[in-house]
């Protein structure tokens, strides 16, 4: 019998619920609010059959472009052939999680604004650019003992003991 390419083919493991987390889904998924322009992760919840995205989108992160009564429209990039298309899908809230990809950026933005405001007050110029990690500083090796290793001179009699 051939392999079969149905919509949910090859999703046995990815759509299954994790160990000991089956059954009722916690209500916080329903209490979260999303705004247009938020980033969300698409992660399929196999317990809810309605509003499931196609398996391709499982694990993708996209932008919210629409919000309806029970579902969220997400814009996800998909490579089709030689180009990337921005695909718009609608997904029920159970299959969506708020993404933390911009969290670091948002925190840094707040901190930078703070630093710049302080610097402006003091009248100094501050660069808030991130610097890449440079080479590590030099250090002295502590507590090392020296052991000199020299080769033993070749001894014909001993070495041919095993066989010849």
């Amino acid at each position: 019998m051939p392999a079969g390419h149905g919509v949910r083919s090859r999703t046995r493991d990815s759509f299954s619920r994790p160990f000991r987390k089956k059954g009722y889904i916690p209500l916080s998924t329903y209490l979260r609010t999303y705004k247009i322009g938020d980033y969300v992760d698409v992660k399929v919840n196999g317990a809810v059959h309605k509003g499931m995205p196609h398996k391709f989108y499982h694990g993708r992160t996209g932008l919210v472009w629409n919000i309806t009564k029970r579902a969220i429209g997400v814009e996800v990039n998909k490579q089709v052939g030689n180009r990337i298309i921005r695909k718009r899908i609608h997904v029920r809230v159970e299959h969506v999680q708020p993404s933390r990809c911009t969290e670091e950026f948002k925190l840094r933005k707040v901190k930078n604004d703070q630093l710049k405001a302080e610097a402006k007050k003091n009248g100094e110029v501050v660069s808030t650019k991130r610097q890449p990690e440079g080479p590590k500083a030099g250090f002295m090796v502590e507590g090392a003992t020296l052991e000199t290793v020299t080769p033993i001179p070749y001894d014909v009699v001993n070495d041919l003991k095993g066989g010849y």
């Binding site: 059954g23 209490l31 969220i72």
Partner: protein, 303 residues
């Protein structure tokens, strides 16, 4: 005596694979199926709260709350208890249908006062037992809440619907049908407002009092001793409840209790020991075991 072979039912594997239900489900307190449907708010309504009108009965008290859900924990907007009713003149029968009506009425007036809508939405001042729904006023739309009965069996004439009726007459908009009010006739599919009114003014208790006085006066003395102590008779009940309703409408605001807060919180569960304390406990236990077994060398790690 040979012990009969009992096959081990719950092996280590059983426990390893066991998935516990949610905590409140294990405690038997929350029906998550109902809670899910009550809380779920349309996503395109964003942060608009969905209020639930919670009515719960204990053996001696009635608790009514207006709650809205939050990820960190539900937030209670206002609450009313049956043990507050003595303040309004009702001291006995705190868990009957009439008291439930009073609690619902108290909670409704309290929330409306808190939201400064109480003059706009008077509700039904004279309790007639008919089905009453709030009409939207000119300036603000009525306060809407959804009834949350909990785990109670919703039969016709249940006291939770007494609380519901109290809130409706108080001026809160709660979607409902009259099918489950006391006095609904299943055959004619109609609510008999006279019967419902009787229940709201404790008429059912009054008629029981009358039958007991006639048939079993001793039982009447023992059963209704608190009523007799306060001089309440079957005929005076309705008048008393009318006064209670009026008192509730006059001053529904919650009163803070005068008791000073306890200096030290009473602990209801054992305090969790720290790592050092647990280690010390283990060492003590080993010491006792070793001395009991008579072993000379103490093998503790005193770290």
């Amino acid at each position: 005596m040979v012990q009969p072979y009992v096959k081990a039912q719950k092996s280590k594997a059983y426990f390893k694979r066991f998935q516990v239900k949610f905590k409140r489900r294990r405690e038997g307190k929350t029906d998550y199926r109902a809670r899910n449907r009550l809380i779920n708010q349309d996503k395109n309504k964003y942060n608009t709260p969905k209020y639930r009108f919670v009515a719960r009965f204990t053996n001696k008290d009635i608790i009514a709350q207006i709650v809205h859900a939050n990820i960190s924990g539900d937030i209670v907007l206002a609450a009313a208890y049956a043990h507050e009713l003595p303040r309004y003149g009702l001291e006995v029968g705190l868990t009957n249908y009439a008291a439930a009506y009073c609690v619902g009425l108290l909670l409704a007036r309290r929330t409306l006062k808190q939201l400064e809508m109480d003059s706009e939405y008077e509700g039904n001042v004279e309790a007639t037992g008919e089905d009453f729904s709030v009409e939207p006023a000119e300036t603000r739309r009525p306060f809407r809440a959804l009834l949350d009965v909990g785990l109670v069996k919703t039969t016709t004439g249940n006291r939770v619907f007494g609380v519901l009726k109290g809130a409706l007459d108080g001026g809160i908009d709660i979607p409902h049908s009259e099918k489950r009010f006391a006095g609904f006739n299943k055959d004619s599919k109609q609510l008999d407002p006279e019967v419902h009114r009787k229940y709201i003014y404790c008429g059912h208790v009054a008629s029981y009092m009358r039958t007991l006085i006639e048939d079993e006066p001793e039982k009447y003395q023992s059963h209704f001793s608190e009523y007799i102590k306060r001089g309440l008779e079957a005929e005076s009940l309705e008048g008393m409840y009318k006064k209670v309703h009026a008192a509730i409408r006059a001053d529904p605001a919650a009163k803070k209790s005068e008791k000073p807060p306890p200096k030290e919180h009473k602990r209801y569960n054992l305090k969790k020991l720290s790592y050092e304390e647990r280690k010390a406990k283990l060492i003590d236990r080993l010491k006792v075991l070793n001395s009991a077994a008579g072993v000379e060398n103490d093998s503790d790690d005193d770290e």
